[in-house]
Amino acid sequence: MRLEYFEMIDRVTRLDRPERRIEATSTVPTASPVFEGHFPGHPLVPGVLLTETMAQASGYLVLGLMNFTHMPFLMAVDKARFRTFVGPDTVLTVTAQLEHEGSGYAVTKAKIHAENKPICDAELRFRIMPFPAGMDELMRAQARRIGLLAEAA
């Protein structure tokens, strides 16, 4: 997990097509400029970055299920709950479930756990659009880096 580069997912550990579900893991870094402000002397991962983590897992799920034909863009966050604090070096398990595949949009429910304890959860909605020029390869490269393409094969 590199917070300042918005690389929130370290590794996709499972993509279950029949169940329309993804599981990924990510470890919060020991140090990050983000922690210098949030909060000085009391480093905590901001809720907005936990939301981004759930959104990225959901996005990779949609990309994998759609075989990288379209790009999901986050358009709504509903029922977000942050249940406990997350500090440096925490190992996160991120799961996302496709709840509904609409025409031009998708809905997921995502959760983060650490040591089997719930950290946060939310219902997320994505607009599904054609890839902007050049983004297709970028997302495939990211997917290769985190093992999604191997899981999707």
Binding site: A76, H100, G102, S103, G104, R125, R127
Partner: protein
């Protein structure tokens, strides 16, 4: 008016925060009710869930953009409701 319309009007009222009495079968979702594309996707999701269907929004958008159908065909509520009823009937056929 039909129960489908009542359900759709309720969804629009709740999702887009529009007083229920302003929503009539003749209302145009965009021109009269001021619903933007993001809010319309919220409404589409609620309609999909409520009726167990999948509104073909991409197809409709393409038809409107290509001039094959007027926007009123899908955005005036009585017409939208007719399309929903057709999708429900096709699902149970």
């Amino acid at each position: 008016m039909s129960s489908t319309f009542e359900t759709v009007a309720g969804i629009i009222s709740e999702t887009a925060d529009i007083p229920r009495e302003q929503i009539t079968p003749e209302s145009h979702a965009i021109d009269d009710l001021g619903i933007d594309s993001l809010a319309f996707l919220d409404i589409a999701f609620a309609i999909d869930k409520a009726f167990g269907i999948k509104l073909p929004l991409e197809q409709w958008t393409q038809e409107v953009n290509e001039g094959k159908a007027p926007a009123e065909e899908y955005f005036v509520l009585k017409n939208l409701v007719a399309h929903i009823d057709a999708l429900i009937a096709a699902k149970s056929a």
